[in-house]
Amino acid sequence: MLKKGSQIVCESLLREGCDVVFGIPGGAILPLYQALPEYPELRHILTRHEQGASLAADGYARVTGRPGVAFATSGPGATNLVTGIASAQMDSVPLVIVTGQVNSWTIGSDAFQETDITGITLPVTKHNFLVMDAAEIASAIKEAFYIANSGRPGPVLVDIPRNVFVQEVEYEEPGEMNLPGYSPNFSGHSGQIKKAADLINESVKPVIIAGHGVIISKAYEELKVLAEKAQIPVITTLLGISCFPEDHVLWSGWPGMHGMAHSSFAIEESDLVIALGMRFDDRITGNPAKFATNSKKIHVDVDPSEIGKNISVEVPIVGDVKEVLGRLNQQVLPGTHTDWLKRIESLKEDHPSLDIPETTKLLARQVIKDLSDETRGNATIVTGVGQHQMWAAQHYRFKNPSTFLTSGGSGTMGYEVPAAMGAQVGNPESTVWSIAGDGGFQMTLCELATIAENRLPIKFAILNNNFLGMVRQWQEIFFDSSYVSTSYTGNPDFVRLAESYGIKGIRVTDKSQVKSAISEAMEHDGPVVVDFIVEQEENVYPMIPSGMTVYDMIEEPVSEKVTS
């Protein structure tokens, strides 16, 4: 049967289980858009900026576990996607991006809205395709989905010239994929698993560091079994947050630059680090040469290139965390580690990281603590990047897997608005709270129109300190409080801004109003923007300066605690 390239794109997406696409039309991709009415099962959400489309697809992918899909036109449409694509690549999020390209015969001639998007995205995609013949669309999209969501997930871009969308070809279902160079390794080596079990069984002071890989492979139960069976404390990475219930007695926080002090010290004092689906990021290790020098390391990761990249490990296991843990757990002996767990308890008492100072001021931390209490840890939390992100990770107590969405590796400010949109679309029943900074929120707030249009009941908590808070904190500590270009004196009235989109706005200026504002927002059945006017110069502690060690940690000064 003859079909157009545009129809083949739609049918291929549907075959892969795609039900939502985020995007914006434009000249080169228009033929694809004009085919959409034929496929009502394919819901298109019109974002207001292409960056919103790629970041929304990211949020969607994280809550559903399926690739998020975004469309954009050639040139600026495609380049606007790039920040979202690069974020997804850093955080191993599966995306399938379809971009329109100029007509194939004009490629290379600097045609109107021509950009070499496969060239531009080469270093920030897992793979990309330029499809020059409609007969190759079906196989390219099938392969794109497979590559995006197998092994270590990541974004895949499919660039299609305008004329290929309108080209008619005899349509055939794609056959077997021809990817001789792609074989994601899923099965851990038995000998290595045995070695890991032996190390665990001998260890006196083991810690687990559970990363995003645990969430991606849905290894929640296996992680719990390992931790409980051998009584091993579970530390997560920033992206691993929510993979282990935070009301569990073995939950031991998260470490690193702004992580909890006891978590960082526990890793330093441990004799065995069991690293699961994580990559020893510099925010965790600080100076890699001085990271956890007293311990042996087991590193389980599905991506072989992560093994030994930052930290040398004694027992590398290349494989899917769920599969490896399933086999490892059978060989791990029940343990107690009573003294070690007590030691971590005392570290926690000696280095409290989560105490909120007694004050009449409205502290951002207090807002998050109250939000955690009011939602009983059951909301899906989406954050931007900066102080509010760190406070959200510190003070929200997550109970359910995959409910903390944040841009970790890339640190993409503005993630909080579109990713919340993707999370709400991907899981319409969930309560989505976007914790935003006034800086990042303004980078992507155009998506409030998309949210209003689609009646997505997202609740925004803007922690508004009229500063690029984290940068200001660095200026305070490292640049003698010289606040260059971090003061936001031209912020809009966020309540009236929300109202102009037909979105409910609430302003909170006093500590006493926080809980009632949160419940008022929750009771409203549409989107709400709550503008929390918080203390301007609150700092995130503890803090391990970049490239340093746990022993260089700056904890919250006592004077600050008393006076603030």
Partner: protein
């Protein structure tokens, strides 16, 4: 940490537009230093072979190999530095030459089993094949006469005595190696 040394890596890759770009982009992005790169068609339709000579310690090269393997269009990667391998490159060298120096140059060319492939009034072109050291030595020697131009292909390399199985019907080319 091992000191920096040259490692030879070969890769079997799909012969498609953009593959070379993808590979060189990976090297650039990760900050690895390629000292030579050679590409050409392989024995199998649609597949090319590449030889990289990379500067770095063993750990760096290990990460290079792993990152090459991650690329979807890269089918097989071998680090043949430690193996018993044949490595060759071809160079064309334009040397300044007059009547008085011609015979001396010809003697040197003979010793290196190189060839003179072009002669003009003031210059001649020498063609040499050999490993990198041999080519370097010849260039150094000829430089005493004055080298105008050097064009080198970069090293190509192949393990010695590795079992190789010809195309099986329907199964495509297959390379057998003792260790993966």
């Amino acid at each position: 940490m091992n000191s920096s040394e040259k490692h030879t890596i070969t890769a079997l890759v799909e012969d498609r537009a953009g593959v070379l770009n993808r590979i060189s982009s990976m090297f650039r992005r990760r900050g690895y230093n390629i000292s030579s790169l050679a590409v050409g068609k392989s024995e199998a339709e649609g597949l090319s072979r590449m030889t990289f000579v990379v500067d770095g310690d063993t750990k760096t090269v290990d990460v290079v190999v792993k990152n090459l393997r991650k690329l979807v269009e890269v089918i097989k990667v071998s680090d043949i530095s430690e193996e018993n391998a044949v490595s060759r490159e071809l160079a064309l060298i334009r040397v300044k030459c007059d009547v008085t120096s011609r015979s001396e140059i010809m003697q040197i060319v003979d010793i290196f089993r190189a060839k003179i492939v072009d002669v003009s009034q003031d210059t001649l072109i020498v063609e040499v094949t050999g490993n990198e050291d041999k080519v370097n030595s010849l260039v150094d020697l000829l430089d005493t006469f004055g080298v105008f131009e050097v064009m080198r292909t970069g090293t190509v390399a192949m393990s010695r005595g590795v079992a190789f199985e010809k195309d099986k019907p329907g199964s495509g080319p297959r390379i057998l190696e003792s260790a993966s």
